[in-house]
Amino acid sequence: MVRLDNITLRYRPNATPALNGVDCHLAAGSFSWLMGPSGAGKSSFLKLLHLAVRPSAGQLHVMGRAIHTARRQELPGLRRRIGVVFQDFRLLPHLDVLENVALPLRIAGRGERQLLADATEMLRWVGLGERLKARPEELSGGEQQRVALARAVVARPALLLADEPTSNLDEAQSRRVVALLQQMHRLGSTVVVATHNQWLAEENPAAMLRLEAGRLVEHG
């Protein structure tokens, strides 16, 4: 599903690399925790995987496509098969909850009736079936996190990435979000979850990727 060969990522030429010589392979259908201290490169690792940046050096393959050499026009189609839960949710404030969740389907060109039905179903799945017309600012942090999760999974992505999805949540809410991520994993998605919460990883054993100062120090 994802293969990184000696990947280096710099945001500016001659800057300290955010990722340095990273090699790893994520099999299709796997569930991985991505851990490490702040500034270790977790968000950069996820940005690479959802094609928000390209590697400065090395080879990156996502879903069989060589990203380091791919033409720019090839990337949107791949991005539509990747779901991302951002740390800061990134919900669109001018759209209601239902429209936020329907967005990936709209981008994919899904018919109006079908996309609204799917988005509604997904919001019910995350327990927000009664808040369809609410604006993001009317929701609590936990609810916004679940809307972000619903939006990330509504198009049934092959690769699901979550960047600190439990950072603003209490334990109960965190467990609920992880359960939803695991449910997507059981449905066939390859899942990578970046987190600081050691106890979550211990409660839910899975493959571990540990980054320190831009280097992958644990993979297994």
Partner: protein, 282 residues
């Protein structure tokens, strides 16, 4: 029973109706459309004037024949000269009618043979025509008032070219305004664009949404501008009528084409501006 899916207004995921809702762009485009309409009318009137002069007085010469030359054969010979479209003999009655305001009833006077020449154009051939007439019919006198008319005609053509230049300038300024408005829209919705881009929206999809919104605003402005221009053109047409007679036609079709033209320019400009900006993203 199947559950109902809620109705929603989601066809504007970029929120452009809010981000680009101001009246500034339609107002500016309305002013540009008004200027464009006036430039069009100017070009149209100048073209009408030039055609009228070139095809009317300018394209005519009067030839007075010596008494010894018969009119009909002379007319045939003059008609064969290069640059002459038609040679029309003026009969005695018409000459008498022309002289009546000055001489009264001149039916008894001996009048010279006169031929009116209609020229094909006021090109270089017309300048050599008096000499050619003199060579064809020795003693013939030529009255050519085409020189000053040609100058007037050249002036009218210059005015027409100037009007087209103004029109092109107006289109260029309108395109620049649209580019600035698009930049402002991009700045207002930068975060949203990045989210859509990360979700797999293509450059074309994002650019089309901007272009559609901008084209709508510009088209609306152009409708207002064209509507404001219509009574002005009607008024100016009335003022020009005594000079140009019924040959002047107002550019109503061009006026009607202004809104779609403005929308098309706006669409293309906004589309290109957004695509250019998106190229900075991976």
């Amino acid at each position: 029973m199947a559950e109902r899916t809620p109705r929603t207004r989601g066809r504007d995921p970029l929120g452009l109706k809010r981000a680009m809702a101001d009246r500034l762009l339609p107002g500016l485009v309305a002013a540009m459309a008004l200027l464009a309409a006036l430039a069009l009318a100017g070009a149209n009137a100048a073209a009408t004037m030039a055609s009228r002069w070139e095809g009317g007085a300018a394209a005519a010469m009067m030839v007075q024949l010596p008494r010894s030359i018969a009119v009909a054969p002379a007319a045939s010979r003059l008609a064969a000269l290069p640059g002459v479209a038609e040679a029309i003999p003026l009969d005695h009655d018409r000459l008498a009618a022309l002289l009546r305001p000055w001489l009264g009833d001149a039916s008894g006077l001996p009048l010279p043979g006169m031929i009116e020449l209609r020229l094909t154009s006021l090109g270089p051939a017309s300048l050599a025509l008096p000499a050619a007439i003199e060579a064809t019919i020795p003693g013939a006198q030529v009255e050519a008032h085409g020189v000053w008319v040609a100058r007037l005609s050249a002036l009218a053509r210059s005015l027409q070219a100037l009007a087209w230049l103004v029109l092109a300038l107006v289109a260029g300024v309108a395109a620049a305004m649209v580019a600035v408005a698009t930049r402002a829209g991009i700045a207002a919705r930068r975060a949203t664009i990045l989210i859509l881009h990360d979700m797999g929206a293509t450059d074309g999809t994002i650019a089309r949404r901007f272009a559609g919104r901008i084209a709508w605003l510009a088209g609306l402005g152009a409708v207002l501008g064209a509507a404001a221009a219509a009574p002005l053109l009607w008024l100016l047409g009335g003022l020009a009528a005594p000079l140009l007679g019924d040959t002047l036609t107002m550019p109503w079709a061009a006026l009607a084409a202004l809104p779609p033209a403005a929308a098309a320019i706006a669409w293309a400009t906004a589309h290109a501006a957004v695509r250019l900006w998106l190229r900075s993203l991976p």
